[in-house]
């Protein structure tokens, strides 16, 4: 059983940042950093799609303990749109071309750095991506996620406080 933990998110960010990987948290796991209360199993990452970033990503994933096959390494370098990894200390979906987002550069320009180390796609982009994906599970989760965005706006917050006490 490989449940992603806060400590692993810290380690993930530390290693990816040290390797210079260009990436953002996205999806529901990204929304959690804003304070959105819900559950999921895996971390969704949106890495920039380039051979150079792919090489850095492979190095970082290996350091994190992912057992990458040569085929998976080729996939990461080849610029596949979606790579799902279940061979590491936690489950990760690498989404190189999320629905509803034009380019990584645009998403990065709108992203928010939470706790000075976690780069998170904007809540607007997370919502836009779910809206464009339009799977049943996305349609079911959107109203509550949009209500959370309104909650933050009402309280003039980018994200809920990280240490409220």
């Amino acid at each position: 059983m490989r449940v992603f933990s806060y400590e692993q998110s810290e380690r993930l960010a530390e290693v990816l940042n040290r390797w210079g990987v260009d990436y953002l948290f996205i999806g529901k796991s990204g929304a959690f950093f804003y304070g959105y209360p819900d559950t999921t199993q895996d971390a969704d990452l949106f890495p920039a799609k380039s051979p150079e970033n792919g090489k850095k990503l492979i190095g970082a994933l290996r350091e994190l303990g992912f057992d990458l096959t040569p085929e998976t390494e080729r996939d990461l370098l080849a610029g596949k749109d979606f790579v799902q990894l279940r061979t590491g200390p936690f489950d990760v979906d690498l989404v190189f071309a999320p629905d509803g987002i034009e380019t990584f550069a645009e998403a990065k320009a709108r992203a928010v750095i939470i706790d000075e180390r976690f780069p998170i796609a904007s809540l607007d982009d997370i919502i836009a991506s779910k809206r464009a994906a339009n799977r049943r599970k996305d349609r079911e989760s959107l109203p509550r996620l949009e209500a959370f965005r309104e909650y933050l706006r009402k309280h003039n917050l980018v994200a809920l406080p990280q240490n409220p006490r």
Binding site: F82, L85, A147
Partner: protein, 69 residues
């Protein structure tokens, strides 16, 4: 999807509760293991395009997981 006033009030209470927790606590409650048949049965998967991934989900995953239309 239409939401009721009661649902919105419930969500507001959940957001208020989340606001009283630290990021570390929120993360602890957010990631849970929930075995997903087929999806979790292979170590790695890769798709050239998101459209191919969506199609694979539609054709291979149980409908109740919600990955289809």
């Amino acid at each position: 999807m239409n939401t009721t006033w009661q649902e919105q009030q419930e969500w507001e209470r959940e957001f208020d509760a989340a606001a009283r927790r630290s990021l570390r606590e929120r993360m602890r409650y957010s990631f849970v293991y929930n075995y997903k048949p087929v999806l979790d049965d292979a170590p790695d998967r890769a798709f050239d395009t998101m459209a191919q991934y969506r199609q694979w989900c539609k054709e291979n995953l149980p409908e109740y997981l919600g990955y289809g239309d």
